[in-house]
């Protein structure tokens, strides 16, 4: 492996609103990328070696959306390509590109503009196995998350109340974050008295959609020093797929082995031997409330079946021992489709730089970021970040 660390030298975003009529999706990409390049102090036309774009055709309504990738992010006539996956997987490509020596500086962009998709539910069903799953009259594609949620609570003994606490915590955390349109001063009793949307979750516990584009700029250690001293280190990445959407029946319900595998890789690369002790901040998957608890367990931040107890104790609170989603998570920031994982990543970078503003937590030195690609996928990406910046 190439020597030297991989640095995050710039981040930028645009959107994080339920709709963004003032820009086309390309305009949104341009907006986030120019912010990231300004943040990193790089000229994309001169300094960036490879551009990675993360998007998926049917989210875009364009059969080869890759066509639209290069221009808005400064990658025209340059080495640019698309990863059909979550933005955090684009970061994993950047990590490999830098480690391989092929690139010194890599820009990764991901975006989603769900407000422009009129038939979002159909698009979700379109991702399901056309033979064995799509034809069933299941009513809502999130039934898959419902099955996992039920399997999770019945295995761990977590209750509906625990899932509701996650929703209350994250929606309130988001009140201090300007990128959080779905933040709310909601109370536990309100969540508990809400009707189920997809059992065992009410709508408070299911994240809404938002439009956003996020760009991050990564660099080799040597290159990073040329541009900035506000460096956050990408110490490790990992990603894994448990089963295909054509073999959903092989999934281990109520668990997320893909996230566990991804975490093991990322921790190994980062030299994290005791995650519960070594990690001081977590920005993790929470598009469904139970996923935060399951993620925490799969990331080894709590023993199997214990995450809800830690939650009860307030460990994951904004001022807790291990703040989990102090940004408000996806429950507050929404789901910008393939940009979701980069949203968590962006928040962790801001925290480690001490630039998270009103939602800055104290003393965060090392963060874990985890994303799951959402139903009906079982693919997860994990990254470990650290910084020596005094926050």
């Amino acid at each position: 492996m190439g020597s030297g660390r991989v640095a995050v030298i710039g981040v930028g975003s645009y959107g994080f609103r339920p709709s963004t009529p003032e820009v086309s999706f390309q305009g949104m990409m341009f907006e986030s990328s120019q912010r990231a390049y300004a943040d990193a102090n790089v000229d994309p036309r001169r300094d960036v070696d490879v551009f990675v774009d993360c998007q998926e055709d049917m989210w875009e309504g364009i059969a080869i959306a890759d066509e639209f990738a290069p221009e808005p992010i400064g990658g025209a006539l340059r080495p640019t390509f698309t990863v059909a996956g979550d933005g955090l997987q684009g970061v994993a490509h950047a990590y490999m590109l830098i480690k391989s020596g092929l690139a010194n500086v890599v820009a990764v962009e991901a975006h989603g503009k769900p407000s422009e998709i009129k038939t979002l539910q159909d698009i979700y069903y379109f991702a399901m196995d056309p033979l064995h799953v799509r034809p069933l009259p299941t009513g809502n594609p999130f039934f898959i998350a419902g099955l996992d949620a039920q399997a999770f609570i019945s295995r761990t003994g977590a209750t509906r109340e625990h899932l509701a606490i996650v929703a209350v915590k994250n929606r309130n955390n988001g009140l201090r974050n300007e990128r959080a349109p779905y933040a709310s001063r909601v109370r536990l009793d309100e969540v508990l008295s809400a009707p189920y949307s997809v059992y065992p979750m009410s709508r408070y516990e299911i994240a809404g959609f938002s439009d956003a584009s996020i760009t991050v700029v990564l660099a080799s250690e040597d290159a990073a020093r040329k541009f900035t001293d506000r460096v956050v280190w990408l110490d490790g990445v990992g990603y894994s797929t448990e089963v295909g959407s054509g073999s959903l029946e092989w999934h281990e319900w109520g668990r997320m082995p893909s996230m566990r595998n991804a975490a093991l890789t990322a921790y190994r690369l980062a030299g994290v031997s005791n995650p519960e002790k070594d990690i001081s901040l977590a920005e993790v998957e929470d598009r469904f409330s139970f996923m935060e608890l399951l993620s925490v367990e799969e990331l080894l931040l709590a023993p199997d079946g214990e995450a809800h107890r830690y939650l009860e104790n307030g460990d994951f609170d904004f001022n807790g021992r291990l703040p989990v989603n102090p940004s408000g998570g996806s429950l507050s920031m929404g789901i910008p489709l393939e940009a979701t994982g980069l949203g968590r990543f962006l928040e962790a970078v801001m925290q480690l730089r001490g630039e998270a503003g009103a939602h800055q937590v104290k003393g965060a030195k090392r963060a874990v970021v985890a994303s799951w690609r959402g139903v009906p996928s079982y693919t997860s990406v994990v990254s470990v970040l650290s910084s020596d910046i005094e926050g």
Binding site: E71, P79, T80, S100, T241, G246, T379
Partner: protein, 394 residues
């Protein structure tokens, strides 16, 4: 471009196995089954099992063909990705060659020792005709209102090439004749045939100057490669095929704002790959090539973009037999997309597989006459934008 060469890479990266399904108009197999069939062939040839594979890279072009959104997730199990790192990379039609390109950095980074690189495409599910899907590759606001057809864009490029380079339809048709004939020796081939230039010119006129036999067919199929670090490669085979160079470039989306006679997108990518491979005079150093040939003129276009011939001269060399299997620089000895078929991402992987076999002297009747040391393949994608290049050696 300031891409540095792979100076830090201690380990080289090699291809150690390749496999194909038959390419066909309609397959009984589901897309995930096609991927599995090809992947298993590749593993068998490498003498490995799925347990030996660290990572998986999947390539597939629009989801609107197979009719499954998030197609990478759908193909994961058939590509061997159960409980493994899996990623799907995507540069339209350029994807096929890009899959091993991306696999290269999976290995060169040290993150994976072995990668299963799988390309799959099942175009037959889309109705009334797979071609209809291509309506959705165009700009939704500026282009789609014109009720267009994919072939228009190729016809426009071919016309421009003809106008700028003085090539005639019959000169270009020779590519189709050569490739379909080469494909007669390829067991995967869907449309191998002994045809004449006249057959091409008399086939159904679709979009002048493009006739039916100027075009590769609609296909279902899959292809796979096993890619490994030098260490692993030395253990499993005596004849690894090295990946010496990789290159990729994406031009802007606005094809209506540029010259179409020369593929700038490919030329940039080729220069990147050649620089990495230490190749300075590709027209002399490359022994065999698989230029991307979804249309016959496209092979000529790409031969020029790859700098295997000067701009506007490929068609002249073709007439002299330069690109035949027993010629000076054989191109598409596999039979290419025109002869073997065009399951988009799988077709690109097939081209790299063919070079792998050529460089191991395992191509049987398809083996080119001259000794081979260095080879290049490319694929092209998006709206005349994406160039992907791989340089191999034995």
């Amino acid at each position: 471009m300031e891409v540095v060469s792979n100076l830090f890479v201690k380990d080289r990266v090699a291809i150690v196995g390749a496999g194909l399904t038959t390419f066909m108009r309609r397959a009984l197999e589901t897309p995930r089954e096609l991927a599995w069939e090809a992947a298993r062939q590749a593993l068998d040839q490498a003498g490995l099992t799925l347990k030996d594979i660290d990572c998986v890279v999947i390539g597939s072009a629009p989801d609107t063909f197979d009719g499954v959104h998030l197609k990478g997730e759908y193909l994961a199990d058939g590509s061997g990705a159960i409980n493994k790192p899996m990623t799907r990379v995507y540069v339209g039609g350029g994807t096929g060659v890009f899959v091993p390109v991306s696999a290269w950095w999976h290995v060169a980074s040290g993150l994976c020792r072995t990668v299963l690189a799988v390309g799959e495409e099942k175009m037959s599910p889309a109705h009334p005709h797979p071609q209809y899907v291509f309506r959705y590759i165009w700009d939704p606001i500026l282009h789609r209102p014109l009720e267009l057809n994919l072939i228009w864009i190729f016809a426009m490029e071919m016309r421009r090439y003809m106008a700028k380079c003085g090539a005639k339809k019959e000169d270009i048709a020779l590519v189709s004749v050569k490739n379909k004939r080469n494909a007669l020796d390829n067991p995967a081939a869907q449309v191998a045939a002994n045809i004449t230039v006249d057959d091409v010119l008399k086939s159904e006129l679709l979009v002048w100057p493009v006739n039916e036999l100027d075009i590769s067919p609609v296909s279902d199929g899959a292809a796979a490669l096993v890619i490994a670090s030098e260490n692993v490669a030395r253990q499993v085979t005596d004849s690894p095929v090295w990946i010496d160079g990789v290159g990729f470039t994406l031009d802007n989306q606005h094809w209506e704002n540029r010259e179409l006679a020369f593929p700038r997108y490919l030329n940039y990518a080729a220069r990147m790959a050649y620089r990495m491979a230490g190749i300075e005079r590709p027209w002399k150093e490359i022994d065999v090539a698989e230029p991307y040939d979804p249309f016959d003129y496209k092979e000529l276009h790409h031969i020029e973009g790859l700098m295997l011939a000067r701009p506007c001269e490929a068609w002249k060399l073709l007439k002299e037999g330069y690109f035949e299997r027993d010629g000076e620089l054989p191109t598409s000895p596999s039979g290419g997309l025109l002869g073997v078929g065009n399951p988009i991402a799988a077709a690109g992987v097939m081209k790299v597989a063919e070079l792998f076999w050529q460089l191991r002297y395992e191509a049987g009747k398809r083996q080119v006459k001259k000794p081979v040391h260095k080879a290049v393949a490319n694929a092209w994608g998006d709206l005349m934008q994406a160039g992907t290049v791989i340089v191999l050696s034995n």
